[in-house]
Subunit: 461 residues, 2 copies
């Protein structure tokens, strides 16, 4: 892999690795051949150069005579570090001013400000992990539910990569036999067993199709289920959302400093995140059918994965609900759920009138809430998302595209075999399939590909 | 100091110590007798209990079989840690989800979520530093200019505390002699030399007054100089601010992730921060004198430390400027600076008409900008803020209040000496003075005082 190393790896890079803003601690990270020497040049304390790897050292950072901060320095010597280079982490007080000063000072001494994802890119270039694993690092940081975390963690630890490499290794064997045939040119020998190849291709096709199917679920896990929640202002939407959020909120509010702005309308059920999209147009009117907002709401419904139509049992009727739902979701194109609220305020006869047409509950008392959660999950599962059968779930669009391209190439090989195409054609298609599969883990990569991947990272990672 | 230790110190506390939000790295910090054991209970890797202090250990965090994250654990064994207790820092991926999970897990195992400032409070209770130093930690984190950083750093490293302790030590000697006199009761002896005490009291009075004077500058350093900038919309306010911000912005934008929202209207000159307050009322009208906004602007001017009246040299006249300034700042109560912009667009004769009544410049060409900076600094210095003569600068309101109270008590002792008051009265006033001085460094402290100080800290510090 050393031929891939750009000259920039001789640099020592530096960045703030913790989120910006005031806090108890900020971490400034350096990586590269001069990481320890550069830190030492502004550090008063022990001689860092003489210290062992994986040790911590208290001291002061100085700009000449001026004391900048009291810090703790972590030493990681190559190759026992995240990047496999010498890495130093400076733990200073979490002030933007101090961080700026430390960064400026290190840059003046010769460090370079790291680009987004550059630490992880270096780890990849030094072979610490492959591309799919590197991408999982970014997914892990962005993960915000049990499932998205689990999938990213599995990918980061190499689960997906192993599966892909196995797939690829089996193809490589046939490919090399085909290449051998080509070497023998006009002699018309067949080293590669065509029927064995056909069987392998069919098996691989099945596996890749399964991985591609898993992407639909992977996308839901990573990005959540966009659920349009429609209903009149008094239907009790916020009570319902609060009831759904209840448990999660309790966790969030018990841990200071971790609340997020957008949680208001997100609910995570059994690790699957439902993003509730507001339908303001509908909420501002009292008559759904005649309101100006219906077209806007319909538009939102068309873009959604799920429609939750919430109505007030004390004022609605079954016929009315059916009409409104048909109006909102013509042709029933989007999976929809009619939910009647305020069950505690109507008689059981009135409730019975809805039969199976709606799920009835009381957001205020909690009655029926569990059924709603199950119904929401059922809707997701009902679309087949949850039945991939594969332990590996593809969550990355880039991976899905590469898998699709590899599949197309494999299908071309299959077609070639059936039509007794020449070895040269088969070998070319097989090479393409191998290249696409190799792109996922980075066995085959280009500068452009790496740039487009790592610039999506945050600075300092 | 051990009598002060509340039973809560037997707890192990935990908190996120880096700012919340997505980032490369998040640090979860534990402190207390169980810090290492608790971490070990969820850590798969080496046995942490057997590792030396100041070492780093890679491993995974596990919730049962489930891998939560790959982390690096920092070990600091008591007393070689920030709090003087066993401290563990877990460096995990900077995802809110992961941080929540790690905190929940540790809390389930028996850790307690730390209150704001509780790590620093523990450091204080264990004698790692005194109260004034602990407060300087918060100031250091909040520092956002060279001067505020320097003052906080000096205070954190004990400069201010040393000065106070010296002061107090000299008083204690006299106080104990007075107490001795009281012990001898009716025998009417005088151990304490009254004239020596008078001299000492006068000297201390001078030092404390100097410290109190320094608080005015300290306040400016810590909170900035509130400068109302008034002027018509076309006077060139934003060009002027941009010109002032120019150098600073270049630094800020070169270091990603550290830009701040409020910087738009703040300029730091020679380490002193000028906060420019907008006067929207004035900006929305074209005629200052007759506008409805004048009263609102006047009100803002009254609350400011400085008024910068910016006008357009191509449209204004000296008489007009004088009238507008008088209208805005009746009685010239607030230090004010009249600044004429667009000097490059008028003749030198026109410029001469302003004589010394206004500072003329061109924000666009930069002409006169240095003079403006000097004039702004001169205004601050002109109020006597910069001539404290003391190397120590008081920045903390609490300290200033304690110094004022100590001064009042010392003046009472002086008055008592002059009126030949009894030893008992003198001793009581001296005790009060000692108590107030002792409050600053925490030699004398109450639970309420500690609570009110440390709850102003951020969580995790």
């Amino acid at each position: 892999m050393s031929s891939l190393l750009p000259p920039s790896l001789s640099d020592t890079i530096v960045a703030l690795s913790t989120p910006p803003g005031s806090g108890a601690i900020a971490l400034v990270r350096l990586s590269g051949p001069q990481a320890i020497a550069l830190t030492e040049s502004i550090f008063a304390g022990k001689s860092l150069q003489e210290q062992a790897t994986h040790t911590l050292h208290f001291g002061t950072l100085r700009d000449g005579e001026r004391i900048l901060d009291e810090v703790v320095v972590s030493l990681f010597r190559a190759p026992r570090s995240y990047t496999r280079e010498d890495v130093v982490e400076i733990s200073c007080h979490g002030s933007d001013y101090i961080v700026q000063q430390v960064l400026s000072l290190l840059v003046h001494r010769g460090a370079r400000l790291a680009e987004a994802g550059e630490f992880t890119k270096r780890a990849f270039l030094h072979g610490a992990f492959d591309l799919a694993q590197a991408e999982a690092v970014a997914d892990l940081i962005a993960s915000d539910s049990a499932l998205s975390h689990q999938v990213a963690m599995q990918q980061m630890r190499g689960g997906f990569s192993r599966e892909l490499k196995e797939l690829r290794a089996r193809l490589v064997q046939f490919a090399s036999l085909l290449e051998l045939e080509l070497d023998f040119g006009e002699e018309d020998v067949e080293f590669a067993d065509r029927s064995g190849l056909t069987n392998l291709l069919q098996e691989l096709e099945g596996i890749i199709r399964q991985l591609l199917r898993s992407f639909e679920l992977g996308n839901v896990i990573k990005n959540g289920v966009t659920t349009v929640i429609a209903g009149k202002p008094n239907a009790g939407k916020s009570t319902l959302l609060n009831a759904l959020l209840n448990e999660e909120r309790a966790i969030v509010s018990a841990i200071p400093g971790t609340t997020r702005d957008f949680i208001e309308d997100e609910v995570s059920l059994e690790g699957i995140r439902f993003r509730f999209v507001d339908t303001a147009g509908l909420r501002d009117t009292t008559d759904v059918v005649e309101s100006m907002g219906v077209e806007r709401t319909r538009q939102r419904v068309r873009q959604a994965a799920l429609l939750l139509y919430l109505f007030d049992l004390t004022t609605a009727s079954p016929a009315q609900v059916a009409a409104e739902l048909a109006e909102l979701n013509p042709g029933n194109l989007i999976p929809a759920l009619a939910v009647g609220n305020k069950l505690d305020q109507i008689s059981s006869d009135e409730a019975a009138a809805y039969a199976d047409d709606a799920l009835l509950l009381s957001a205020a008392t909690g009655q029926g809430m569990d059924e709603l959660k199950q119904a929401l999950l059922q809707k997701v599962r009902g679309t087949g998302l949850d039945r991939t059968g594969s332990a590996t779930i593809v969550t990355n669009v880039r991976h899905a595209r590469s898998l699709e391209a590899a599949l197309a190439a494999l299908l071309a090989v299959q077609a070639g075999l059936q039509s007794n195409a020449g070895t040269e054609l088969l070998a070319a298609d097989l090479r393409r399939a191998l290249a696409y599969l190799g792109e996922i883990t980075g066995e085959i990569s280009t500068d452009d590909l790496l740039t487009s991947i790592f610039t999506q990272f945050c600075i300092g990672k």
